[in-house]
């Protein structure tokens, strides 16, 4: 007990780093099958294996890689493919705004690194950690630990999917783990009427507008959900 205490005092950065790894590990249960399915899908629609893997490094955003690979398969114009990826990833701008206040005292090279690692999962665990009381000076190591873990697992699982090709039957429905992961991320955070209203309205509008081109319905639904949350909050 005493040894562990002094370890935490002596090596706060290392301690934060490993806490970040530990916090993000349970989410890998959703990330690994999703990465594998992306790899399998990309190869099966005709994306070359090296390009499919490069997308995981260069874009590094699961849902948008999924959609982009499908658009390559359909041979849509490059401009539409690029724009679609950007729209799907716009939510990362909102994450960026939400976590930015906590990163301001960091050197610029840290900001460039953590910006690259800002994914749904790393954001979800890191923002919770930042919002907790306590010494803020080393929390960037927590973010780095969770982000690097996610990055490594994502690269390995997409590589595994590309390698496996089409040998995993679709009847396993492994793509459903994506929805389940998001449920696990959202539901515990809904603590009042305003956040419940934001989630429900956004989800229902997303379903109604699902067939809009370029996934624009997703963006509209997000904005409506945020608006409903704000209105409900002001009421109470």
């Amino acid at each position: 007990m005493h040894a562990e205490k002094s370890y935490q005092v002596l090596y706060p950065a290392r301690n934060e780093f490993f806490s970040g790894i530990k916090a993000v590990l349970p989410l890998m249960l959703g990330v690994i099958p999703f990465g594998m399915i992306y790899g399998i899908l990309a190869v099966s629609v005709g994306v070359p294996a090296n390009v499919a893997q490069a997308m995981s490094v260069i874009i590094f955003a699961g849902s948008s890689q999924f959609v982009s690979a499908q658009l390559f398969g359909l041979s849509v114009p490059a401009v539409i493919n690029i724009f679609t990826v950007w729209v799907i990833n716009l939510r990362h701008g909102l994450y960026s705004g939400s976590i930015a206040p906590y990163l301001q005292k960091l050197p610029t090279r840290w900001k460039w690194l953590l910006g690259y690692l800002l994914t749904d999962e790393a954001y979800a665990v890191s923002i919770i950690h930042y919002q907790q009381e306590g010494d803020d000076r080393n929390k960037q190591w927590f973010f780095l630990g969770s982000g690097l873990t996610l990055w490594t697992i994502w690269q390995l699982s997409t590589a595994a999917g590309i390698f496996l090709g089409a040998s995993v039957p679709t009847s396993w429905s492994l793509d459903f783990t994506l929805a389940l992961t998001f449920i696990a991320l959202v539901v515990p955070g809904i603590k009042d009427r305003a956040s419940l209203g934001a989630a429900l309205s956004a989800g229902l509008v997303a379903v109604v507008l699902f067939n809009l081109p370029l996934k624009l319905g997703l963006l509209a639904a997000s904005l409506i959900g945020i608006l409903v949350g704000l209105l409900l909050e002001r009421e109470s």
Binding site: L29, V47, V51, A54, I59, S68, A78, I82, V85, W86, L90, R91, H92, G93, L94, S96, G97, S98, I99, A100, L103, Q104, K111, W112, G115, Y116, L118, S173, F176, T177, L178, A179, L180, T181, F182, I183, A184, L185, V186, V187, P188, G189, I190, S195, A198, A199, A202, G203, L204, A206, V207, F210, A221, S222, I224, G225, I226, G229, L230, E233
Partner: protein
């Protein structure tokens, strides 16, 4: 070649989006309204991604007890709410889906 240019452009735009506020916080002042709105970003945006996965199949909305994904998702929401545990949520949802698919097909 065009496939490489596409993913590089998409990657740069995604990276720029992620960096935006982290790099320019303070220089691009965030309006008060936006700061309040940020609390609703995770519930709104993440729900937008999973709701269609539960309710839409091949472009059609399916609201019936024959929709195995909807039932499994509702069970997973219940489990997530009671346990706040990611692994329990995913495992219970997948087991429910497999069992329902076995009986319905």
């Amino acid at each position: 070649m065009i496939i490489w240019l596409t993913i590089i452009a998409a990657g740069i735009l995604t990276y720029a989006t992620r960096l935006s506020f982290i790099l320019f916080y303070g220089q691009i002042r965030m309006p008060y309204m936006m700061e309040r709105a940020l609390r609703f970003v995770p519930p709104a945006v993440l729900t937008v991604i999973f709701f269609p996965e539960l309710l839409i199949n091949d472009g059609d909305i399916i609201l019936s007890f024959g929709n195995a994904r909807l039932l499994s998702g509702m069970l997973a929401i219940l489990v997530a709410w009671r346990t706040k545990n990611v692994i329990y949520t995913i495992v219970s949802g997948m087991l429910a889906l497999w069992i329902l698919q076995y009986f319905f097909s």
